[in-house]
């Protein structure tokens, strides 16, 4: 065990007199005070955002509330493969699969519910989806609920949401994509 003895150094006269350092400290606080007093915008040191009145723009990949993407005919792109529900670490996605009337599509979600009170907004469901059917690009915060039941969002509500307009092309700008399942 290495024992290190640190010598106690007494303060020099310069330090013990306090005054020069007090003056220098005053210089620092006065610099901040007058900079914040006189300037606006990026010259300021202050970074505060007055939240309800000002809102900062979120990054492009901000994960907001989920939405389901529709095909051109308005039916969900989801094929009820359960990959999102399997990937979900919070077990918040509940899917009931049904047989699709279309020949090209095997299954469709009879029910697709997300419990927003359980969701941790990790985005794994988006990455797991092979159909680009679920995204988190709405930019919406989790809303407040009055009961636990209100926290469960169903298929119709999820389909009705739109992506943020500033979502870049590379990440998928359209709100409706051609409803052709991959591999056909």
């Amino acid at each position: 065990m290495a024992l290190r003895v640190r010598e106690r150094t007494s303060m020099s006269l310069y330090e013990r007199s306090f005054l020069p350092e007090v003056v220098r400290g005053l210089g620092v606080t006065l610099r901040h005070f007058f900079t914040n007093l006189i300037f606006r915008g990026s010259w300021r040191y202050t970074e505060t955002v007055r939240y309800p009145f000002e809102k900062r723009t979120y990054p492009e990949r901000f994960r907001g509330q989920h939405r389901l993407l529709p095909r051109e005919d308005g039916s969900p792109r989801c094929v009820a493969c359960y990959l999102c529900a399997t990937a979900c670490p919070a077990y918040c996605i509940h899917i009931v699969a049904g047989e699709s009337p279309e020949r090209a599509v095997e299954k469709y979600p009879v029910a697709f519910e997300i419990d927003l009170l359980r969701c941790i907004y990790c985005g794994f469901c988006v990455e797991a989806c092979p159909e680009d059917a679920i995204r988190m690009d709405t930019g919406i915060h989790t809303p407040a609920f009055l009961s636990r039941e209100d926290g469960v969002v169903g298929r119709v509500d999820l389909l009705s949401l739109l992506g943020r307009p500033q979502t870049p092309e590379a990440f998928g700008a359209q709100n409706v994509r051609e409803g052709k399942p991959r591999g056909q």
Partner: protein, 402 residues
């Protein structure tokens, strides 16, 4: 009769000035500290909107909100408290501060057209500097009684600290003024202010701070300790003992808080009168004046214009001194108790005594005070050089594993 009326008017003027400035200081304390710490400060209190945004007026409504809050809180008195002393204690400190204000000349004598002269000073009494020190010492009774009457150990602890601190720093406070008494040959505020007229060396204001820069600094330190604000706020010590006003609520606490800010104003008034030339501003307001605001508009010869100019200059100086005190309060951390006592007894007191000795010698050698001014300016220049040169930075031993 007329002089009594003028005294009453002067009293109303200085008390209104001090009270409004103290109220403003509660806002300045928040706003100034916020800007110094890169925050925004109070921005919420409002009662109407302007262009869709809340009309906050730089947060000035917080002063009103504070007052309203204080009035509507429950006025609580703990069990076992001494009812009379508990109620009287806040008033004592408040009253003593106002008494000191009465001794401060806040403008030149108001000379009317009929060449009657009225002093802009509530009480012009001989030895008013000594009276100010004596009355200022009484202020500690309010604090000590508040702590004792509360029937609370922590309040008592705060009161004890306040008493010890006050006693320790009063000595230095009084002794730092002795230098100015020697230099001006008077212990009366208006005489001291009058002695600071004109220029020294033809370009520097002939103020006490030029003759006695060291005493001015010592006085400021001692007086800040007397106001019991950071870095000398051990009697409050909100993170450890809360302090002598621990049991006070409602306006009882409000008066303590207001007293604190009034004390800041009073200290600024004292400092401005003794070290910053009072209501005088060389080149503008003084003996050879061209007039300031009113003087330049209506001619400096008009007595009332000269008086108003003096009041404006005095007010601005006091305001700036208050701002400096707030800035110091938001720059420095709190002293430890033993450091506080060491600073008071082992540093300030001997230095104040040395200052008296040196001042007396310099004034004896050269009664025209030129030598005193030369030494004073040399000290300021030397100090500025030391600050600009900075310290010898010693390499700190690095922390962490090796």
């Amino acid at each position: 009769m007329a002089s009594l009326l003028v005294s009453l008017l002067a009293f109303a003027a200085i008390v209104t000035f001090a009270m409004s400035l103290a109220a403003l200081l509660t806002w300045m304390e928040r706003r100034q500290s916020a800007y110094a710490q890169d925050r925004l400060g109070p921005t919420r209190a409002h009662f109407m909107t302007f262009r869709g945004k809340p009309f906050v007026l730089f947060g000035l409504f917080h002063v009103l909100a504070d007052g309203a809050k204080m009035f509507f809180k429950e006025s609580f008195m703990p069990k076992g408290a001494d009812a009379t002393l508990f109620r009287v204690a806040p008033i004592i400190g408040f009253a003593t501060s106002l008494i000191i204000l009465c001794l401060i000349p806040f403008g030149p004598d108001w000379v009317t057209a009929t060449s009657a002269s009225y002093p802009l000073q509530v009480a012009r009494v001989d030895g008013s500097m000594l009276i100010a020190l004596a009355v200022g010492s009484l202020g500690i009774y309010g604090t000590a009684l508040a702590g004792w009457a509360s029937n609370n150990r922590f309040a008592m602890l705060g009161a004890m600290r306040a008493a010890a601190q006050s006693v320790s720093y009063e000595l230095a406070l009084g002794l730092t003024l002795v230098g100015m008494m020697i230099a001006t040959g008077s212990t009366e505020f208006s005489a001291v202010v009058d002695a600071q007229h004109g220029l020294v060396f033809g370009f520097l204001p002939n103020w006490g701070i030029v003759w006695q820069p060291f005493a001015a600094v010592l006085f400021l330190v001692a007086a800040m300790a007397e106001t019991k604000r950071t870095p000398f706020d051990l009697p409050e010590g909100e993170s450890e003992i809360i302090g002598y006003f621990l049991e006070y609520s409602s306006m009882g606490f409000g008066v303590f808080m207001l007293t604190e800010f009034i004390e800041v104003v009073v200290l600024s008034c004292l400092f401005v009168s003794v070290f910053l030339g009072g209501w005088q501003l060389p080149w503008f307001v003084g003996d050879t004046s061209s007039g300031f605001i009113f003087g330049s508009l209506f001619g400096p010869s008009a007595g009332w214009a000269r008086a108003l100019d003096g009041m404006v200059v005095f007010g601005v100086k006091v305001f700036l001194m208050c701002a400096l005190q707030l800035q110091i309060r938001w720059t420095l951390p709190r002293f430890r108790y033993d450091q506080l006592m060491r600073l008071g007894w082992k540093n300030l007191l001997p230095l104040a005594l040395a200052n008296i000795f040196v001042t007396a010698v310099l004034v004896y050698v050269d009664p025209s005070l030129a030598l005193l001014a030369i030494v004073g300016v040399a000290m300021v220049v030397g100090f500025a050089l030391v600050v600009m040169a900075g310290p010898k930075r010693v390499a700190q031993p690095s922390h962490g594993a090796h």
